[in-house]
Symmetry: C2
Subunit: 348 residues, 2 copies
């Protein structure tokens, strides 16, 4: 357990989630602890495999704090990966340099052999990282924990890798919905344990990343994105009443409003394709909105970046708003572009 | 020029576009002339490269007609590829078996050297195919011509291949918008010539495939999807008043309504992620809607396929509607699933 006294109590991020409309808004960036930072690359080199880094509390907490030290973001996000959960469930997970994750693809028999409740030991290193970060972080800064949403994690577990259209998982969901439901149920359980542990260790908020929600048709979105997320939110709040939870169903577009209404998340992340008038009129009236600068506009920089920042601030600063990218920062992004972004948002 | 007397005059497809609400609705499938058909695979083997097949009027017209002969679809779609346009503009285009298209990536200098108006010769083989098909097709069947939308074609020209996030084209659009605008303008011109030629050769309708529209942020969607499409529609109608045009901005989600309102297309294709109530309440009140069965549900088959078909028919048969998939049919799809689909739609 962490030193509760140091938990974020009055920072801009938490105040926004609690209902305040702050000018300038709080700001952080998805994947802010990562390869675009030279200080990250130094630590990464010394750490062995990518998962070794995720499971090394000293190094993981160091890289988690790097973007706060450099840019003064309002929130730190735990350095980890959404595939820690399948790893904890006993599945083989590797990260191949320049190619992305590789898992042993799971089939019906593999799903049957997933044992519920045996995952918590593997999470302990992550919880220790959370604890270390929270103790080193100023009280006005927020610590965000996270997990992948069951659907998104399942796409990797079934295919064994990233796939452009998530066909393997979508096909299993169509052909053998009972097995796929079992996989999703196991992921809901393990993810609930994982988020509860992070919150107990000192995370102030948790975010659920559903990166591949946008590939699902209407019925599948209800069953494989909304229902498991709602259940995950329910279980976490059952254990930790009032737990603050952000949902980020990337690409959900026309389903975003329903996602917010039915999952019970406290705030919603939006990707860069979401029109600002929709975000304002249909989402922000319900919950705080977080987003949505195109990471490639940040990468390109220049005056177009300034205009894109202003446009988002003009569109969303009238309500509860957290400035973020619409997806993770791209490794090639120059540091100066991030500095320019932070300065421009803070000038408002 | 084709034998105009044989053009489709009273088929269900054209009557739907003209405003009638038909029960059962007309049906065809994107990529219906393709690898899932054994008779296609026979012709494909005999044809040399994929582009050789596209530019062989006898063989291309044969494969265009195959799905009509087998399933009695209400429309045939020209067998061709959206990359015929960059090929006609003098760019190297190859199709690598199992990997997809490869092009020589275009840069600023390459864009400057694209000559407007020199593309029409290369299109002649395609126009001859259109002519042959129209003459062999019954009058109550519709012939659909097509092109790729400028944005989608540009993503391949800039990257030289398919890419998961279209980053190379999006980056050029951010970093060098003037050059990218020139590329888009050239594509609008060449695509207008291409569609006009297809319509003059006997196509009854043309469809504009914007397969990667869904990756664009709001401003970029206006500039790179809507504006070029609106200009393409305008140019085609300037030459051929009343030309019937269908737009298919895959993944456009929250931007679909604006796309329909601003481009001037006569009908809109929707992918499988579009909720049916939105399609009915926001799109079908403006134009006929075409879609949107998930191709993987067709591949999986069974009772879930039946339910998905019924759900779409229940949702959209109250207005002007063309039954289709939400994207192209997958090569592994069993013929019997397509038979089951056609039978079920026709039973209504």
């Amino acid at each position: 357990m962490t030193d509760q006294a140091r938990k974020s109590d009055g920072g801009k991020f938490i105040r926004t989630l609690a209902g305040e409309n702050l000018q300038p808004p709080p700001i952080w960036m998805m994947r802010q602890a990562g390869r675009y930072l030279p200080e990250y690359r130094v630590v990464r080199k010394s750490a062995g495999s990518f998962l070794d880094l995720c499971f090394n509390p000293e190094l993981a907490s160091t890289v988690t704090l790097q973007p706060i030290e450099r840019f003064g973001f309002d929130a730190a996000i735990l350095f980890s990966d959404i595939l820690v959960v399948p790893h904890a469930l006993g599945r083989e997970v590797r990260f191949v340099e320049g190619e992305g994750p590789r898992l042993e693809p799971i089939d019906r028999a593999g799903i049957e052999s997933l044992v519920p409740g045996n995952s918590s030991d593997a999470f302990d290193a992550v919880f220790e990282t959370v604890s270390l970060v929270r103790n080193r972080l100023d009280a006005d800064k927020t610590l965000i924990g996270f997990c992948g949403a069951p659907w998104t994690v399942a796409t990797y577990m079934v295919a064994g890798r990233g796939t452009p259209d998530k066909a393997p998982a979508r096909l299993m969901a169509s052909r053998d919905p009972d097995s796929f439901q079992k996989l999703i149920d196991r992921l809901v359980s393990a993810s609930a344990d994982y988020l509860i542990g992070q919150l107990e260790a000192g995370a102030d908020v948790v975010q659920i990343f559903d990166s591949w929600a946008g590939i699902l048709g209407e019925d599948d979105f209800e069953r494989w994105c909304i229902a498991p997320t709602a259940e995950l939110v329910r279980r976490v709040r059952e254990k930790i009443p009032g737990a603050r939870m952000i949902g980020f169903p990337k690409g959900a577009g026309l389903m975003l409003e329903r996602y917010v209404a039915k999952t019970g998340v406290d705030a919603v992340g939006i990707d860069w394709t979401v029109p600002l008038d929709y975000a304002r009129d249909r989402l922000q009236i319900r919950v705080p909105v977080q987003g949505n600068l195109d990471p490639l506009i940040l990468l390109a920089g220049g005056e177009r970046l300034d205009r894109a920042i202003d446009r988002i601030l003009d569109g969303l600063s009238g309500g509860r708003f957290i400035f973020n990218l619409g997806h993770g920062i791209v490794p090639d992004t120059p540091i100066e572009h991030v500095e320019r972004l932070v300065e421009r948002v803070r000038q408002r």
